[in-house]
């Protein structure tokens, strides 16, 4: 196999080249390799716009016809900002909601600057006076618990500066973890904090980013305080659902209505095309004093998925951390043979929280003997709190100067729903 690097020599991406093979020669622009291309393949953009892959062989020759020009400067673009409109802050943290495609190579880049984000969604400026800031640019799968604290601190600062509300743009994979973290970390919140993302990147004509972002801006401009996630409500580009930050979960890998409120209905809806925001229930705005970031995040918490193959050793490993959350089976169970190991962990002072991998419904330690044994071992049953929310909450609770069990059982940010009607 002849590797493309050996063959390419001085030829660089963007150069016009001619590749000669035994029976054929190809002329085109040298492209970066497709991320799934084989190592011996050169990607070329032909004059007709198509990319093709040419296999490097012993007798393959390459000739640079024309070196690429320096990258064209970006065009000056101006978006009119109306300072009479309500001021909304948009905090970028990454994800595909503000990505753009580099047509030359087809590479999709996340927005690197505030302008990138605004230019890919210019409609925002029609609804508010946007203040755009890129806090960091990470794929959501790469976000770590420390980042939640960074976001929380910046949100507190921004809200103190007097903006109407904050929109946090975020990758969708771990968005509900961040929304849960902000729900606990932001104390005394009397303004809207809205997390938003997109399931189809904004470089595509069919992206859901624009509708979601407009909905988020509308909600951030409303007087509904709290941490919310706003995303498509159905596969149609019609309305977006408002989910509570602690009750929301990504329930589909790819659909644009992947986000669902679990164990409760969405709190409300936003119709981005008309700007209408409606809530299921009226809520009096409590003007709280003293917005602050309360507590921190201790990331040393395990989330364990109960399953028939789980061993005592798995339990002990998980117990080496400062806290354990179990996504139990059914009503909050696990193999009773594992309970002694769990007991050891708890006796060493590590809190163990029980949730359900069913997600829908609440755990209950009284129905079956396994539940009773777990309770006796000291496992804290966490009602209908989502496993991920429980994990984030425990990370937070561990940093507070309060009894962990008490904090975990208290309904702090709507993470418990007392009545489930469906």
């Amino acid at each position: 196999m002849v590797l493309r690097e050996e063959l390419l020599g001085d030829a660089e991406v963007g150069d016009k080249v001619r590749i000669k093979k035994e029976s054929q020669s190809y002329e085109g622009i040298l492209m970066p390799s497709h991320r799934f291309s084989k190592k011996d393949v050169i990607t070329l953009k032909l004059k007709n716009g198509y990319n093709i892959g040419v296999v490097c062989e012993e007798d393959t020759g390459i000739e640079v016809i024309k070196k690429s020009k320096k990258r064209t400067e970006k065009k000056e673009r101006r978006i009119e900002i109306d300072e009479d409109k309500p001021k909304i802050s948009i905090l970028g943290t990454g994800g595909t909601i503000a990505s753009y495609v580099e047509y030359r190579t087809g590479a999709v880049h996340p927005a690197q600057t505030a302008d990138d984000l605004l230019y890919s969604n210019p409609e925002i400026a029609e609804r508010c006076e946007p203040e755009v800031e890129i806090l960091f640019s990470k794929l959501s799968e790469d976000i770590v618990p420390k980042d939640w604290v960074t976001i929380a601190d910046r949100v507190v600062e921004i809200l103190e500066e007097g903006t109407r509300g904050v929109v946090v743009s975020h990758g969708t994979d771990t968005m509900s973890y961040t929304s849960a973290a902000l729900s606990f970390l932001l104390h005394g919140l009397s303004k809207p904090v809205v997390l938003v993302g997109s399931q189809r990147s904004s470089d595509r004509p069919s992206s859901d980013a624009h509708l979601n972002l407009l909905a988020a801006v509308e909600l951030a401009g409303s007087d509904r305080p709290g941490v919310h996630v706003v995303m498509h409500d159905s596969m149609s580009d019609e309305r977006c659902a408002v989910h509570r930050g602690t009750k929301v979960r990504k329930m589909h890998t790819s659909r644009r209505d992947a986000f669902e409120s679990i164990n409760e209905r969405p709190l409300g809806y936003v119709y981005p095309n008309t700007g209408e925001v409606e809530f299921e229930e009226e809520k009096k705005v409590e003007v709280k004093k003293g917005l602050e970031r309360k507590g921190g995040i201790d990331e040393r918490v395990s989330l364990l998925y109960a399953n028939p193959g789980l061993t005592q050793e798995d339990i002990r490993d998980a117990g080496k951390k400062e806290g354990v959350v179990i996504a139990g089976t059914g009503l909050g169970h696990m193999n009773t043979n594992l309970i002694p190991a769990l007991k050891e962990v708890i006796e060493e002072g590590t809190p163990v929280i029980m949730t359900s991998q069913c997600l829908y419904g609440t755990v209950n330690g009284h129905v079956y003997s396994a539940g009773r044994e777990l309770k006796e071992a000291g496992v804290i049953f966490a009602g209908d709190m989502l496993p991920e929310t429980a994990m984030v909450k425990l990370m937070w609770a561990l940093t507070l100067d309060e009894e962990v069990e008490k904090v975990m059982k208290e309904n702090i940010s709507g993470e418990y729903t007392c009545r489930r009607v469906r």
Partner: protein, 626 residues
């Protein structure tokens, strides 16, 4: 305006290139859905599309023009033939391997050079026909060629791509598409502009169509093969015409496009002579038309809309000919309509539509219209009118230069209508969700070994092997009966009976309303097996086919047709009986009695005995008598 009676296409430098899109009969290209058109709508989903911004801040010219029309679409999502992939709710799966095989087979047929690693691209299309806003397409092979009547036609590119959703209706200004067609694999074959006459366009298309059919895995019927045409004449411009569905009409489309270009060039010359100009100024003439009788204008004025005008200096008589022949008028209107207005009024067609000379006079005065000038009117809200007239300005300026490069939509009557400017180059970027596909040499070898017989070879073989004539051979192939035919003949012989059945009995039965397409291969083989074992005569075949086409089994159909076969002894008995009955007649006519008696016997024995056999026995028995 005079138009030369007979157009000499060669002298005009006519060049035609074809792009042929053939649907493949496999699963869909990027998901496991069956590629079937269905009647159910199931749910609908509402979507918006917006042009994407490239790094340079340029939105494609064609995409932008579509965007002006408002980009809201509704999709019907029949579950039997579409899934989340077509809805752009799930990433595409890898390309269908069978579709790839067929596409490669076509490339082999055309001696094209295979691309070693195939890369799917996203071609931006935001007319709503793709939920994604782009069509996925890959270049598969280049530099092929075809021999058509001894002339070499270059095949520069062959692509494998996905079909678009089909437009089913327009509901309150929202286009409705059904996703059943979306994602059906298409092979696109483009020819070089080597075609120089309208007739040749058809011949090339026929040749390519025949090659497709010989792979046996392509869809048949209306809409399964679509042709785009590229037409230009020397002084004209390249015009792409999309969506020709009737192959036999290709020459007409070419002829009409040539006529259109010639007319536009003649108009250009007149405008040039007159030093014609297009003013950029748009006039508000609402005041001049407020008493107007036109119901459209009246209605619009009532709703607070207005009437706006554009002066076209030196354009008089060039919008519409004196004999009513459409000139620039429709072209201007088509551009205006792209902004959403219903159309335009222009001075060459007025007074009409409730606009009187009095109102014309007022407008003419306001615009300072001279003897050789023309004008266009639009009625709509101010912003919309201005957008529409801006497009008219653009198109009128192009008229000064001659023929604009554009993409046009073929209409069923052989004409075409403006669709969008010819697409720029910035329309394609890589489909990052689909890994590139290396075409392995083992695959090429397998497909080369399995290469189907080419149409010409097959037609020749039929003549040699089965004694058919050329026309019969061609028709069997063209109608798609060749494989069935070969199977029948291979197992049971009787090529001429089978040919007759496919080429004559089938069309006859269809005319009578029998659904012969319901008859499957197993049933046909069963019918021929029994025919060979002389259970009935060939004359019985039509009646059996009728029964089977109505859902009967071959057995039931045989019974129903009363075709229990009559053996030689029985025939002889019947013949002897008849000769005795008519002994006087036989005495009198001698051998001359054969004809009339044959008629009687055939009626009685129809389908139960072979005609030749009957005739033979009759002859013998009469000879015995005389």
């Amino acid at each position: 305006m005079t138009m030369s009676e007979k157009i000499d296409h060669e002298e005009l430098g006519l060049k035609v290139g074809l792009e042929i899109h053939q649907q493949l009969d496999t699963e869909k290209l990027f998901c496991g859905c069956p590629s079937e058109m269905v009647e159910d709508e199931d749910g609908t989903v509402l979507r918006y599309l917006r042009p994407t911004e490239s790094e340079l801040g340029d939105v494609d010219r064609a995409a932008l023009m579509e965007a002006q029309k408002g980009l809201k679409f509704r999709y019907q999502t029949p579950e039997s033939s579409s899934c989340l992939v077509e809805l752009d709710e799930e990433p595409p799966h890898g390309p269908d391997e069978e579709a790839l095989d067929i596409a490669i087979t076509m490339a082999l047929f055309m001696d094209a050079e295979m691309i070693e690693e195939i890369h799917f691209m996203r071609k931006i299309v935001i007319d709503g026909s793709n939920t994604t806003g782009f069509q996925r397409t890959a270049l598969l092979a280049i530099d092929g060629a075809l021999d058509v009547n001894g002339k070499k036609i270059g095949i520069p590119t062959m692509c494998l791509e996905e079909d678009a959703a089909r437009s089913v209706e327009e509901e309150d200004g929202v286009k409705v598409y059904r996703l059943d067609r979306s994602g059906i694999p298409l092979v696109e074959i483009a020819t070089d502009p080597d075609i120089t006459s309208p007739q040749e366009a058809k011949e090339v298309a026929q040749k390519i169509g025949a090659l497709f059919r010989s792979t046996k895995k392509v869809k048949r019927g209306i809409g399964s093969i679509r042709e785009d045409l590229n037409v230009s004449i020397e002084e004209g411009a390249r015009v792409e015409m999309k969506g020709v569905q009737e192959l036999y009409m290709l020459p007409e489309y070419v002829e009409k496009e040539v006529t259109r270009q010639v007319t536009l060039l003649e108009i250009r010359d007149v405008l040039d002579k007159r030093d014609a100009k297009v003013q950029e100024k748009i006039y508000d003439v609402t005041e001049d038309l407020k008493e107007c009788e036109s119901s459209i204008i009246r209605g619009n004025l009532k709703r607070g809309k207005g009437v706006y005008a554009l002066k076209l200096e030196g354009f008089d008589g060039q919008l519409r000919g004196e004999d009513g022949e459409a000139l620039l008028g429709p072209e201007l209107a088509e551009y205006a309509k792209k902004t959403g207005v219903a159309g335009i009024f222009h001075s060459d067609e007025l007074p009409k539509f409730g606009i009187t000379e009095k109102e014309m006079k007022a407008v003419e005065e306001r615009l300072d219209i001279g003897e050789k000038d023309a004008y266009a009117l639009v009625t709509a809200a101010e912003e919309d009118s201005k957008d529409a007239l801006q497009n008219v300005i653009e198109r009128a300026k192009m008229a000064l230069k001659g023929v604009p490069e554009e993409t046009r939509q073929a209409r069923p009557d052989g004409t075409s209508v403006f669709l969008r400017p010819l697409s720029g180059e910035a329309r394609m970027y890589p489909e990052t969700d689909i890994p590139p596909k290396k075409v392995e040499s083992t695959r090429l070898k397998r497909l080369t070994d399995e290469l189907p017989e080419r149409p010409d070879e097959k037609i020749e073989r039929y003549q040699e092997e089965y004694g058919l004539n050329e026309q019969q051979s061609r028709q069997l192939f063209r109608k798609g009966y060749d494989l069935l035919f070969e199977k029948i003949v291979e197992e049971h012989g009787s090529p001429s009976v089978a040919t007759n059945m496919f080429l004559h009995t089938y069309p006859d039965l269809e005319k009578e309303g029998f659904e012969v397409k319901n008859i499957n291969k197993e049933e046909l083989l069963e019918i021929f097996r029994r025919f060979r074992s002389k259970e009935f005569a060939k004359e019985g075949i039509p009646d059996i086919l009728k029964g089977v086409s109505q859902g009967r089994s071959v057995d039931e159909a045989l019974d129903a047709a009363g075709l229990e076969s009559v053996g030689e002894e029985d025939i002889r008995e019947k013949v002897v009986e008849l000769i005795q009955d008519r002994s006087d007649f036989v005495e009198e006519r001698k051998m001359g009695a054969i004809g009339p008696l044959m008629g009687v016997l055939m009626k009685e024995l129809k389908g139960k005995a072979d005609g030749e056999k009957i005739s033979e026995i009759l002859k013998e028995e009469i000879e015995k008598r005389i």
